[in-house]
């Protein structure tokens, strides 16, 4: 089976590479992971991802069943059924799609179903918009799904395959959202290297989705009976399940790192599993970024370094579970920090990654000046110039007790 397209071309460095958009890179990663069932429903900017997979199935390049359903809600419901019957699943969604999916979405981690779904991040309504932003991912960050945010098209492909290994790890058994920025990464076209199918098969192994919970006449059980209530065993039963989910999340921090290390060993490409420290060791201050914006931010850091600024960068790849230990270690190296979000925490009057960075700062034992930057909402660009401004503002930060207003990077564009 070959999941590559006609655009395949020879390359001297690697056996095979193709030039594709981010959505197609995800589709290739899905194909290599051999799901049993893919459920599809279109939504911008994700649509081309499921179109690519549908075509792979139609062409016979991917031996999966295609489930054409009537909405994102049904997408996840159908796939939960597949997983409970032992199948490996995939779907993709964005913004309002995940809002519609929310009811089965919040249930998936509690069922401990190791499903993988791309979240092609998009801003949420209203104002009505169809463009990139990470509001969707941030709104669902307490649903119990693992979230890994990609920076490059290659990372999308590689992380999609890795996601299955992480989700289906016996110590994890939780669903994974592989997030990539709508518009920028979804439609951004670059060359990617293709792993060999045989190598991926060895890396992933067979699907293991329902050893713990199943809808199977050979193993009859009541799946998800009512649990909880005061009195009787309900209260402690419920706690046991919730603690189990938390433990799975914490185990995922280790498993994500192990899987990324194994990937690097097998395929020769290394991606930072939890956070990436960029020019941080000798930095006086740093930016924190997440997702596709990081490329422009690194450029801005390089330019500032050339100008003598002691600035570094911390990229968050794994946002759920929150990599507290890694973040604490990284933040301890600097004296001022500016966090750039592509979404809003309405309750904190800041970006959500900023609010969580403050949580990690507590563990460093030293309160340092920090500021929230909000940019890139609804498809707006965060350019190297925007980042240069963020760098300058972070450099000049003074300690301030009490809340600080966020800086809206695109306010005057």
């Amino acid at each position: 089976m070959s999941v590559a397209t006609a655009k395949e071309r020879p390359n001297t460095n690697t056996p095979r590479s193709v030039v594709v958009e981010g959505n197609e890179a995800a589709a290739i990663g899905v194909g290599l992971s051999r799901p049993d069932v893919v459920a599809v429903y279109p939504i911008t900017p994700q649509s081309s991802l499921v179109e690519h997979i549908s075509q792979m199935i139609a062409d016979g390049r991917l031996n999966a069943s295609l489930m054409n359903v009537e909405g994102e809600h049904a997408v996840l419901n159908g796939l939960q059924g597949v997983a409970l019957a032992g199948g490996r699943t995939f779907t993709a969604t964005s913004g309002p799609g995940i809002a519609f999916m929310f009811e089965p979405y919040v249930r998936t981690p509690g069922l401990r179903l190791p499903m993988v779904a791309s979240l092609v991040t998009r801003d949420l309504l209203s104002p009505q918009c169809v463009w990139g932003g990470q509001q969707d991912a941030m709104v669902v960050r307490e649903a119990g799904w693992i979230q890994m945010h990609c920076e490059t098209v290659q990372e999308i492909l590689d992380t999609t395959v890795m996601a299955y290994k992480i989700a289906e790890h016996r110590d994890v058994m939780l669903p994974v959202n592989v997030c990539h920025d709508g518009n920028y990464l979804s439609f951004g076209v670059t060359r990617v290297e293709l792993p060999e199918q045989e190598q991926v098969d060895k890396f992933l192994g067979p699907a293991a989705t329902n050893w713990h919970i199943a809808l199977d006449p050979l193993r009859p059980m009541g799946v998800d009976p009512l649990t909880g209530g005061s009195g009787g065993p309900g209260a402690r039963n419920f706690v046991r399940y919730r603690k189990g989910e938390c433990r799975g999340m914490q185990n995922a921090l280790r498993v994500i790192s192990e899987v990324h290390a194994e990937w690097a060993e097998r395929f020769g490409r290394s991606h930072a599993p939890l956070i990436e420290e960029y020019r941080l060791d000798d930095a006086d201050y740093a930016l924190v970024t997440i997702g596709g914006m990081t490329g422009a931010a690194k450029d801005a850091v390089d330019i500032a370094r050339d100008q003598g600024e002691a600035v570094g960068l911390i990229k968050v790849k794994t946002f759920r579970p929150f990599p507290l230990e890694a973040m604490t270690k990284a933040l301890a190296k600097v004296n001022r920090v500016g966090v750039v979000d592509r979404s809003v925490s309405f309750g904190w009057n800041s970006g959500p990654v900023y609010a969580e960075t403050l949580g990690a700062l507590y563990h460093t034992g030293k309160p340092i000046p920090a500021v929230s930057f909000i940019g890139g909402l609804a498809g707006a660009d965060i350019t190297a110039e925007h980042f240069a401004r963020a760098i300058a503002l972070t450099r000049d930060l003074k300690w301030q007790s009490g809340p600080r207003e966020p800086v809206w990077l695109n306010e005057n564009d």
């Binding site: 159908g78 597949v82 009859p220 009541g222």
Partner: protein, 449 residues
């Protein structure tokens, strides 16, 4: 469980006294038209109007057998017939003294006692009756077959007293059997403990507490995976009307459009009975419910119920039928079809299951209420498939006025005469509409003749 047998049923209102049955019996048993040889007797009614039947009832605890001193009369354990053995009979006639039905009699011309032997299961009298006054009833086969199947739910489900839904799901899952996966969205069915509480389950089959909104799709996913790996599993939804007609409708409609191979059973108790009797989209006009209350400004539900089973036929899925727990023969026939159909396409069964608790009628009256729904045409029993279209399976020729049904139910207690008249009109219109649907000749039906 005790065994039941087929029997002869007499409908006196259909009997015109032609006594063709007696002639047929005399011919069958003695090759003569001499009616003294007939073992069935039609007699003028004692009150002077109509006719009565004198015939052996093949009693379960027959007095004739007890009275017989020679062992000539025995109750056959396999057929249920009270057999008479001429070679053992001593002509004492004690048997005739014991029978209250004149079912075993002595005629001098015959020379010994004689009684009905059911003609080995094909009674000549029934075949001879042109008016349908005699029927060979075979419900017993259903009952006996039922007893051979395992109940897929544990004893002691916590349904309300007189609950129809529990009756229905136990019957249904006995027939579906253990190679199945059941989805039960929130409502009375999981509420009574089928899926379970705190780690204990009330079911012997794999059962899942689906969402109110996702039952059909989730089952379709289960089924899709088993189809991929080549295992035959019946995927069954036991859903209330809210999980089918309201919040669950998108899921049901999508599955029906895709003709997903599942068996979806809507257990329609006309509202959210489990959460406290709130109205749903299939709550009928005029019903009291806790969200369509009765007061000075509002007298129950102000809009009609949507006709969900008819809507389902518009999806062209493989099979759609309505059913009533008072007509279990009809239901079993449809269930058997639905189980078979669900291996390749979607089968949808809409079962009308009155709720004594929520509708406010005595729990002893559940089956009577079900029966009256059908007798008044408030509920119509029909089935549909895309090849043959829609047909009635139990047409009611002379329906009773719908008021006879409404007055049995507490939730209609407040209805004004105008409201009752309105309901009667909508019942009539609904039947007329269905009647038109039965007259559509599909291409498949047309090419068949």
């Amino acid at each position: 469980m005790a065994k039941c047998f087929s029997t002869l049923q007499f409908h006196p209102e259909r009997c015109d006294g032609c006594i063709e049955c007696m002639t047929a019996c005399a011919q069958a048993k003695a090759g003569t038209d001499d009616l003294r040889f007939s073992r069935i007797r039609i007699l003028p009614s004692i009150n002077g109007s109509g006719h009565e039947l004198a015939l052996c009832r093949q009693c379960a605890d027959p007095v004739c057998v007890m009275n017989c001193p020679s062992g000539a009369l025995t109750k056959n354990a396999d057929t249920g017939v009270v057999d008479w053995a001429g070679d053992k009979c001593v002509d004492c006639l004690l048997c005739t003294a014991g029978c209250a039905y004149a079912g075993i009699v002595y005629e001098a011309e015959v020379g010994h006692v004689s009684k009905c032997d059911m003609c080995d299961g094909a009674p000549a009298c029934v075949a001879a009756c042109k008016n349908g006054a005699l029927e060979h009833r075979t419900e017993a086969r259903l009952f006996n077959g039922f007893a051979e199947k395992e109940d897929m739910f544990c004893p002691g489900l916590a349904a309300c007293h007189g609950c129809n839904s529990e009756l229905l799901i136990r019957h249904t899952m006995r027939m579906v059997g253990p190679d199945s996966v059941v989805a039960a969205p929130p409502g009375c069915i999981p509420g009574m403990g089928t899926v379970g509480y705190n780690g204990q389950t009330g079911a012997k089959v794999p059962i899942f507490h689906s969402l109110l909104t996702n039952t059909a799709t989730m089952l379709a996913g289960v089924k899709m995976q088993y189809n991929r790996v080549g295992r035959e599993v019946i995927a069954v939804a036991l859903s209330g009307d809210g999980g089918t007609a309201d919040a669950g409708f998108q899921s049901v409609s999508g599955a029906a459009e895709r003709n997903d191979p599942i068996l979806f059973i809507c257990v329609d108790n006309e509202g959210y009975m489990n959460t406290g009797m709130q109205a749903s989209g299939v709550t009928p006009y005029g019903s009291w419910s806790s969200t369509t209350p009765v007061g000075g400004a509002m007298q129950g539900k102000r809009t009609e119920a949507k006709n969900l089973p008819v809507i389902m036929t518009m999806h062209n899925c493989s099979y759609v039928a309505t059913a009533s727990p008072a007509f279990l023969e009809d239901y079993y026939a449809k269930l058997a079809k639905a189980i078979e159909v669900s291996k390749t396409g979607m089968a949808y069964l809409h079962v009308y299951t009155p709720c004594p608790t929520g509708w406010r009628f005595p729990s002893s009256m559940t089956t009577e209420v079900c029966r009256m729904q059908v007798r008044t045409n408030f509920v119509a029993l029909w089935e549909y498939d895309p090849e043959n279209g829609l047909r009635f399976t139990h047409k009611v020729d002379r329906p009773e006025p719908v008021s006879n049904y409404l007055k049995m139910i507490g939730k209609y207690r407040h209805l004004s005469e105008e409201q009752v008249a309105h309901i009667q009109r909508t019942v009539d219109d609904k039947i007329a509409y269905l009647d038109q649907l039965t007259k559509i000749e599909t291409h498949a039906a047309a090419s068949a003749h």
